[in-house]
């Protein structure tokens, strides 16, 4: 344990914003302090937080809804963590992280801890970074943590699995986009939030979605399709109350624990990929071969394992 890690851990316990930010950077950049920090976090605290995932197509109002939820939850006195994920450019590797624009009203609230995170174009790694960030925020006293991400792409799908409860945000007028998303994302969503529900087409969208969620709804009698107008703060209280009821249901039924286990497995696998990737890239660059990639891959794995055992 280095002096730097000790300082960061002490800072986390004090809920110092600078220390929280730095600790998250340490895990995101996979620096040496990361292992020290993560191994020192209190598992009970981590177990007690509620992680909400908010996803949906661009423009559905995810950030606005998140901001409205922050407003309502802050009135109840909850300390909150927000992880806002935006895609990195596959070409430059850079990113514009703009989710904060709609959350600036909370910028000076010390009990709203926001972290913008770029996908960094990794196949693995994002899930690991976000998972570690959840735990750091929990250690820094956040009781409810919201992960917000665009609902397209594999890494975004993976990251939403970190959540205990997933809210899918849609708005009228997306038409075919929604059709295309049905198979993948609606299956992982616990709730469907029809935002901008004052717009034409909202009722039809709700009816459509009621059908999709019919079976889930029958099971436990909890409404899964909810309407909001986030920009006007409408429907937020109802939404939070329903989510809370559902959260209790998850807890008592053991589903939350099950989901946490699955999330940890996914994260562990993510780390394995993250750690192994550079080693294999190195091994690959040492020996250029014109073999079939699948055969070559198996040989490389075998080689690395034997090397490890020696």
């Amino acid at each position: 344990m280095t002096a730097g890690s000790n300082e960061l851990l002490a800072g986390l316990a004090r809920q110092d914003p600078r220390a929280i930010g730095r600790a998250i950077s340490a895990v995101e950049n996979n620096s040496e302090a990361a292992a020290d920090i993560l191994s020192s976090l209190d598992q009970d605290v981590i177990d007690s937080v509620l992680v909400l995932g908010i996803t949906g197509p661009p423009g559905a109002g995810k950030s606005t809804l998140t901001s409205a939820m922050i407003r309502a939850l802050r009135k109840k006195g909850n300390r909150l963590g927000i992880i806002a994920v935006d895609p990195s450019s596959p070409i430059s590797g850079g990113a514009i992280l703009g989710d904060r624009i709609r959350m600036m009203e909370h910028a000076l609230d010390p009990d709203v801890v926001v972290r913008s995170m770029a996908t960094r174009g990794r196949l693995g790694g994002l899930c690991a970074s976000a998972g570690a960030t959840v735990r750091i925020m929990a250690a820094a006293g956040c009781e409810i943590i919201i992960i917000e991400t665009v609902g397209v792409g594999q890494s975004e799908m993976d990251i939403i699995r970190l959540a205990d409860i997933t809210l899918m945000v849609l708005a009228p007028g997306f038409g075919d986009d929604i059709q295309a998303m049905k198979a993948g994302l609606l299956e992982v969503a616990d709730f469907l939030v029809v935002n901008k529900s004052d717009l034409a087409g909202a009722d039809a969208l709700c009816m459509d979605m009621e059908q999709v969620f019919h079976d889930k709804q029958e099971e436990d009698g909890i409404a899964r399709v909810l309407q909001t107008i986030a920009s006007l703060n409408q429907g937020i209280e109802q939404l939070l109350a329903t989510v809370k009821t559902f959260g209790l249901h998850l807890e008592t039924s053991g589903i939350k624990e099950e989901r946490r286990h699955m999330a940890l497995d996914a994260e562990t696998l993510d780390w394995i990929m993250e750690i192994l990737r550079p080693r294999f890239a190195q091994a690959m660059s040492e020996k250029t071969e014109r073999k079939d990639p699948r055969i070559r891959a198996k040989e490389l794995i075998k080689e690395l394992v034997t090397r490890q055992e020696e």
Binding site: A26, S88, G94, I96, L108, A118
Partner: protein, 143 residues
């Protein structure tokens, strides 16, 4: 590990303090930095110095870029620096741009602004300045 850390993109915040709503410059800079591989946190227009500083600390950025076209840069830029200091982020370099008269540039530099850009500055110039500021910051903070 050190080699891996180097590959992590620099994080910068681009913000517009004060009351003017002309954000074309800020957005241009944000996009240019993104295209150079920076992760750019954009806060939008009409932010207070305190909001910008609090966000920069929370997001653990390597540099802050401010844009002002209102003429209030002599008050706003140093105010952001002061707010950063009171929030434990005094080590984060601040760069500024906008419609800034020549005679004010020296005053801003004296007030602790790392670099000042005026309209017409080549993208390469401010990208280099941001890269330098970020490099220096991450070396100093030992991350």
């Amino acid at each position: 590990m050190a080699e891996q850390e180097k590959k992590s993109p620099y994080r910068v915040l681009i913000g517009k303090p004060g009351l003017d709503g002309h954000d074309r410059g800020a957005k241009f800079i944000a996009r240019a930095l993104r295209d150079e591989g920076f992760e750019v946190i954009y806060t939008g227009i009409r932010r207070s110095a305190a909001e910008i500083a609090a966000t920069a600390v929370q997001e653990d950025v390597d540099a802050v870029g401010l844009s002002s076209l209102s003429g209030a840069h002599l008050r706003l830029f140093p105010e952001v620096i002061k707010e950063l200091q009171t929030r434990g982020g005094g080590d984060i370099p601040v760069l500024g741009g906008g419609v800034i008269p020549d005679e004010d540039i020296e005053l801003l530099l004296q007030a602790g602004v790392s670099a000042v850009f005026t309209p017409g500055t080549a993208a390469e110039t401010f990208i280099n300045a941001f890269t330098e500021a970020c490099e220096k910051h991450s070396d100093d903070s030992g991350q």
